[in-house]
């Protein structure tokens, strides 16, 4: 099989992994003239495909042959998809060639499980080893790890990679038993705890090394700077509350950088256990918004998803939905309120809140000031007090307030000739997470 055909199969096999981040790596570059590449600071999206996703890394599987039978996955053993396998050298060369042409930030390597978890892990690590040790590659490397692999191998992967991840796939063991019978939630969490420990140790060692002055420094053991995971949404019947509680638990317990929510989308080779459905794109979007509120806006899951309503409102963003349920909190005075309270105003993101806090030290802010900060006035006005503005209380108290914010009628099914327009504001929001 020629390289082009392999790339076709093994990129196609990898595209259902949503993660493509290339940010948050330790700063490194190749100014010593020996190696190739750099990382640090913001990640870069080198291209975008017509599904709106960023292309940042060469994302491929080493092989799509797999012993497991995960029914949402095109590579499961029951699928009749054509199988292929890269040699480690082929992936290394592709990565270097693509990188030198500035197509990519680095490599995201995953693999189907062949022979055993340890055997597969060793193959994946070999690619990263060659890149780092033979070619002194300093670009971004993200390695997918297998929870059942030995701790020693996971440690080794972490020493070469900037990020490592284990996909949790589904939020409960019950769902895994039905759709991914080889996967085990306890094993996955245990492995994540192991990785967290290594990341913490490496961080502590780096801090300690910084404090030692005028003494030969023991070099801090290099280790990936973060781990992430992915949950598939819409393949099982888990509620948003279950999904977000699981995510929240992982953020707190193993300090994940990111949880990716991947709406289950039609795949070639559908499984008899999991009939094809249209991808739940809006639900996926709402989950990301809620996730952002958990991490950066001081919300907790119970506030976003009260017990009586365990699924997010698909028509309104979760902060607005929360505000409509908690109108007694409003109006909030933008010239006096605390940061925490400003964060809760629908239409104000963390960036604008920081601007407001900076600007109000010198003057009382008016609506015109907010407009210059590009705040969506229509959205915030019912909820705020400004130097020249008080909301009509009648509106805040009225039952029509929800109506006020609902989007106009639109088609929700996929129409390929005229896909529903994403406004630039939506896209910017998806990118920055500003809500």
């Amino acid at each position: 099989m020629d390289l082009t055909r392999k790339l076709e199969i093994l990129a196609d096999a990898a595209k259902y992994d949503a993660s493509c981040a290339s940010s948050g790596a330790a700063r490194k570059d190749s100014r010593d003239g020996k190696g190739l590449g750099s990382t640090g600071g913001m990640g870069i999206c080198h291209s975008y495909t017509p599904d709106g996703r960023c292309v940042s890394l060469l994302k491929v599987l080493l092989t799509n042959a797999c012993l497991y039978d995960c029914h949402y996955c095109i590579n499961r053993r029951s699928s009749n998809v054509q199988r292929a396998r890269f040699t480690p050298e082929e992936v290394v060369q592709l990565t270097l060639d693509f990188y030198k042409r500035n197509y990519i930030e680095g490599l995201f390597l995953s693999s189907g499980i062949v022979r055993s978890a340890d055997h597969t892990m060793e193959q994946v690590i070999e690619v990263a080893r060659q890149l780092r040790e033979v070619h002194h590659f300093r670009g971004y490397i993200h390695l997918k790890t297998i929870p059942e692999a030995s701790q020693a191998l996971i440690d080794k992967a972490g020493r070469y990679a900037d990020r490592i991840s284990i996909n949790i796939e589904l939020p409960s063991q019950q769902s895994l038993d039905r759709l991914a019978p080889e996967k085990n939630l306890t094993n996955t969490k245990q492995a994540m705890h192991g990785i967290r420990q290594r990341i913490d140790e490496s961080l502590e060692a780096k801090q300690a090394a910084r404090q030692i002055v005028n003494r030969p420094r023991a070099k801090a053991p290099a280790f990936a700077t973060g781990q992430s995971t992915q949950m598939i949404v819409g393949a099982d019947d888990s509620s948003d509350a279950l999904v977000l509680h699981r995510a929240d638990e992982l953020y707190r317990e193993v300090r994940l950088r990111r949880v990716y929510y991947s709406g289950f989308s039609p795949i070639p080779e559908p499984s008899v256990l999991l009939p094809i459905k249209p991808p739940p794109l809006v639900r996926e979007h709402r989950l990301y918004q809620a996730d952002w509120l958990l991490r950066f806006y001081g919300f907790d899951v119970g506030e976003l998803l009260p017990k009586e309503d365990p699924n997010l409102d698909l028509d309104l963003d979760p902060k607005l939905a929360w505000a409509l349920r908690n109108r007694a909190v409003f109006p909030v005075d933008i010239n006096r309120a605390s940061q925490e309270l400003l964060w809760r105003i629908p239409g104000l993101g963390t960036v604008n809140v920081a601007r407001i806090l900076a600007a109000r030290r010198w003057s009382r802010l008016t609506l015109a000031d907010l407009q210059r900060m590009r705040v969506n006035l229509k959205k915030v006005m019912p909820f705020i007090l400004a130097a020249d503005h008080r909301p009509r209380l009648a509106l805040l108290e009225s039952t029509n307030l929800r109506q006020h914010f609902l989007p106009g009628p639109r088609q929700l099914e996929l129409n390929f000739n005229a896909p529903p327009p994403t406004t630039p504001a939506d896209a910017a929001m998806a990118l920055s997470g500003q809500i």
């Binding site: 196609d12 291209s47 017509p50 500035n102 070639p268 009939p275 000031d369 390929f416």
Partner: protein, 285 residues
Amino acid sequence: MTHTAQIQPTFEVWRSKARELLRQGVTPENVDWVDASQTASLLAEEPANYQTAPNASVKVPADFLRLAQNVCAHTDERRFAILYRLLHRLTLGGEKHLLGMPSDRDMHQCNAWAKAVSRDIHKMHAFVRFRLVGVNEPNGREQFVAWFEPEYRITRLAAPFFEKRFASMDWSILTPDECVSWDGEKLTFMPGMSRHDAPAADAHDDLWRTYYRSIFNPARLKVQAMQSEMPMKYWKNLPEAEIIHDLIASSETRVRTMIATPERPVKPSPDNAYLRKLHAQQHAD
């Protein structure tokens, strides 16, 4: 008295001239800023004229200089005047807190320009595509050339990124305004060139398009989301952009085919020691 400040449109030249005017206490409404590159006048002052002037008298925050650097790279002809007004207010005007006031009109305008420039720099880092043109025989370094058309005058601001990342290759980036090349030792800047001075393709473009085609998921078409991040003005220099239209057009058929595919039955577990162990463990839990 009105001063005419006719300058080459770079941050360094603007800074020298602004320092000089500030030292003389010239107020913003008395300066007429003129871009010498647009007027081709013999009177244009050279940057060298200012090199001797000491600069100790005016102190501004580093944040202002960073802002000014980006603003100067913009092409709006009002930029030098508004920037000078900002500088004047910040120093002689005594408005020390101006930089912390994003709602101020001048700050708002300069922030908007700086943001547009910084987005353009970011897109240049993302969308430059190097083409292999040969190997430097004496030292074996590979030589690459790229053609790029930025919206603003950002070659100097964008170049350090490429230096850090591609220090071990020889490379040049050609743009209509200004070109830059790296030989392993230093960055060299040259006048702008034309698209025909750069190679049109690279042998790896086909493989890259294969990857782009395969990583696209036709079941999640979101064309607008793609375009807002990768505006069409960049497409003509991206090798992958030529297949975008086909990918969009064939999506619907591809998804229909998926939906029409008969569902595959579950195959029995193969005889594998690792799987046996895994299943035994699952049942023990």
